[in-house]
């Protein structure tokens, strides 16, 4: 019979709608003010700590709605933002140093809905407030650092084999080693070739000197870059966790960029300082055989040593080039005050390799002085292209005689302020950056602007929707009602798909939804105009409906597929705001094809199908 859907098709429409309603549902629940407590670097939020927080909150009389553990983090819900604000100070008071907290909101979705994967849609930073930064990793510096490290290794390798060399020099592409005679050079070539299999090697003779040159092959360069990026991502993630952000995102973008998104963060200055900070420590022996002042005045620094200055009074000091341990070997650090002098200090823990080295070196050098170098990359200006000019600042913050062999755990003093000690400890805990970074893009949205954006976006969707619905009813009568039902169903389905995919809804995304509302009725307009045409040439109402849907179908498909192509291109090439727009546009095109073709047909069949109809209200 004409214009009757088989049962399964009606059931399909009902089923899809039910699923859509179900997964759009979580967006209707309110948000609880909440605090998230999470540990960094292996610190866990265990039950004694939970107990401690609970008691502290109870004794200060703050109402708690619920406490739940998820993914090794503790989520505490509060009945009001006032309670949340008060609780913040109480909780801050009882947390150990390596556990942090953050203010957030948590959707009040019931457990049964969560259990089947129902989640509210992710709001973008422009809707909830927060900071977005794009970080560029300085790969040239990463390679330079690596070459410098090889330089030290080459010296060690040659020395341990008692092969005498004249100089070992590093440049941008490799290491040049100079020898006095060809025989030594050939022996060195063999030895170095065995030790550094991953490097390229060549020899050359010039002006009575004999050279071996080690270079980085392309594969090795790629490896260094990939490692630098990965290491930086890990470090930045650790730092962000230590800052205490509720739902941080740290993600690789392309070959040298890192995206960091921190929702709800109010103080962009602090974030940028911590993210970009490069402060680390280095432990070196003091060169006591030469005079530092002489070296500074004559400019002749003894080989094997380097000239530094002491932070306190600016006097020069000579330190051995070979580093005992670096910040990379520090596994944990905490700040505090030295018990004897009362000055700020950092207590550090070394990993196994670092501890062994520290012990070996200090055993041989008891009674001799050791220095702690504070290294930091500071931006001192920008060049004409806007690229930052950075200078490595290296200060000796403390010099002390080795009284006894040191092990895995010891303290370092000489820092300017408790604040510096605190930040240094945070940075040492998070690990050092493998290569310097530069913030190349920042977008910060204040919380009130976020709410405003939500309201304005929501209003324009509602008003636009209502106006279109009025127009459709006036112009297409009963069939207009079908189209309107499809329009609402389309919005529900879009919300469901966005929530299910956990796609991020942004302001341009809302604009995409608004545009979809306008374009979704296009399919219905096409169908209805066809039905009217059929009626005009004298077809029966039933035949007109049938022919209208059938003939409009390929047109709708072609029109929507081409728009979909544009949306997909936008999504794959565009960034940020453009992506957000493309996502909702693409989802809207697909859901609207279902609702405005299959959905309205089901309604039309239900109302008109299988009956004798004289006239259509269209």
């Amino acid at each position: 019979m004409l214009n009757q859907y088989p049962l399964w098709k009606n059931l399909l429409v009902a089923f899809v709608l039910a699923i859509g309603l179900f997964y759009a549902l979580p967006n209707l629940y309110s948000q609880d003010p909440a605090i998230v407590v999470s540990g960094s670097r292996g610190a866990v939020v265990d039950s004694p700590l939970q107990e401690k927080i609970n008691t502290a909150l109870e004794s200060s009389g703050i109402a708690v709605k619920a406490m739940e553990e998820k993914e090794e983090r503790l989520l505490i819900r509060f009945p009001s933002t006032t309670d949340q604000q008060e609780a913040q100070h109480v909780i801050a008071g009882v947390l150990p140093e390596n556990v942090s907290y953050a203010l957030t909101t948590a959707a009040n979705v019931p457990g049964w809905l969560l259990a089947v994967g129902g989640k509210p849609v992710n709001l973008g930073l422009d809707l909830r407030g927060g900071i977005h930064v794009l970080i560029d990793v300085d790969m040239d510096a990463a390679i330079k650092d690596k070459i410098e490290a090889y330089t030290g290794d080459v010296r060690t390798a040659l020395r341990s084999r008692k092969l005498r060399y004249l100089t070992v020099k590093a440049d941008a592409k490799g290491v040049d080693v100079k020898f006095k005679d060809a025989a030594t050079r050939d022996k060195a070539e063999e030895a170095l070739g065995n030790e550094f299999r991953n490097l390229g090697m060549e020899t050359r003779d010039a002006e009575g000197a004999y050279f071996v040159r080690l270079t980085l092959p392309p594969a090795e360069t790629r490896l260094i870059k990939r490692f630098a990026l990965q290491q930086n991502i890990t470090t930045i993630r650790n730092r962000v966790n230590a800052l205490g952000v509720a739902e941080p995102l740290v993600q690789q973008q392309g070959e040298r960029r890192i995206v960091v998104e921190l929702p709800g963060v109010q103080d962009p200055t602090q974030v940028k300082n911590i993210l970009g900070a490069t402060a680390t420590l280095e432990y070196r022996l003091v060169d006591t055989e030469h005079d530092a002042l002489d070296a500074k005045n004559s400019g002749k620094v003894p080989p094997g040593s380097r000239l530094y200055k002491v932070r306190e009074d600016g006097r020069p000091i000579l330190l051995k080039k070979r580093v005992i341990v670096t910040g990379n070997q520090i596994t944990d650090a905490s700040s505090g005050f030295d018990q004897r002098s009362g000055s700020p200090m950092v207590l550090v823990n070394l990993d196994g390799k670092g501890a062994r080295r520290m012990r070996n070196v200090t055993i041989d050098n008891v009674g001799k002085p050791m220095a702690v170098v504070f290294k930091e990359n500071r931006i001192v200006g920008r060049d004409a292209e806007g690229k930052p000019i950075k200078r490595l600042v290296e200060d000796v913050i403390s010099v002390a005689n080795i009284l006894e062999p040191l092990g895995a755990r010891f303290q370092t003093t000489g820092l300017d302020s408790p604040q510096e000690a605190h930040e240094l400890a945070l940075l040492l805990r998070a690990g050092a950056l493998a290569a310097p970074i530069d913030i190349v893009e920042e977008r910060t949205i204040g919380p009130s602007l976020g709410q405003e954006n939500i309201d304005q976006g929501f209003n324009s969707v509602i008003i636009g929707l209502l106006l279109v619905m009025v127009f459709m009813v006036v112009y297409y009568k009963v069939f207009g009602l079908f189209a309107n039902a499809a329009l609402i169903a389309n919005l529900v389905l879009m919300m469901a798909v966005l929530s299910l995919l956990q796609a991020t809804l942004t302001l341009p995304g809302i604009a995409g939804i608004v545009l979809t509302v306008g374009m979704a009725v296009d399919a219905n307009v096409l169908i209805y105009e066809r039905i009217r045409e059929e009626m005009r040439v004298g077809s029966t109402p039933q035949a007109s409906i049938h022919a209208g849907y059938a003939k409009a179908f390929s047109t709708i498909m072609d029109a929507n597929i081409t728009t979909l192509i544009a949306a997909i291109v936008l999504f794959s090439i565009g960034s940020g705001p453009v992506k957000g727009f493309a996502v909702t546009l693409a989802i809207g095109i697909m859901t609207s094809m279902f609702t405005s073709i299959v959905g309205t047909r089901a309604l039309a069949n239900l109302v008109y199908g299988g009956k004798r109809v004289k006239k259509l209200a269209i």
Binding site: E442, S460, V468, D522, E529, A566, F581
Partner: protein
Amino acid sequence: MRTLTSSLHFDFMGKRKFAMALSIFLILLSLASLATRGLVFGIDFTGGTLIEVGYAQEVDPEVVRKVLADNGFAEAQVQQFGTPQDILIRLAPREGVKSSDLSDKIFSILSKASAGEIELRRVEFVGPQVGDELTEDGALAVLVALMAILMYVAVRFEWRFAVGSVIALVHDVTITLGFFSLFQMQFDLTVLAAVLAVIGYSLNDTIVVFDRIRENFRKIRKGESEEVINISLNQTLARTIVTSLTTLIVLLALFVLGGEIIHNFSLALILGVVVGTYSSIYVASSAVLMLGVSKADLMPVQKEGQQVDDMP
């Protein structure tokens, strides 16, 4: 209300000379403006810093400008944004200053100078090299979208239709860009997204018309190409107008209620929808006619339409 759908017999193609003159005039105007005045690119493309600050009471942009000039930021562009309490400040990339610190500096200067509390509503900082990349990516996106569409239409229809639709799209994009250049309006990333959406919309319109032209070429046995195209345009006219109308309704809602940030976005779309509707009638169809499309080009290789019974 029914009047729109009663049989129409506009001689669209007969007036195509006039339409062509109008299109050529608009395109030349747009190109001239783009060449001489150029586009006012937002910081998304040029790099730089943008700061939106909210005051508790109304504030005069001139006063803010003076405060900034006194503190060494004479080149800062200051304007009102949305409400009289909102101020938007734009700064070009600066030598010798860490750009990501610039916003903090500006905010503390304004905080000190203001009597009441002020609120940092928004900061956008884009480094110069990121700006260059965005410009390249944006141009690439437009090109790739055009190519992909060209291919799809060539496969689904015929090459003349593909060329016709792309000519219409280039027409729409050029005039939309020309408008932004002529009135010196800010062209940022959201406007680029709008231009790409215009491509999608205008194409949608064009495809609907082409679909009918193809159908009528197959159905109407006699009749010149010009006549067939005219009939097709008249048959789809009601739909073209109704869909443009509903889309314009929601876009106006977005323009009026959506807030300052997407003001230019909705404006670009409104413009694009109007131009796109016009171009699908006159530009795309005239192009197809002028490229010499004929019945023989569109006769189906195999019979279509077997599937219609089971379709929705």
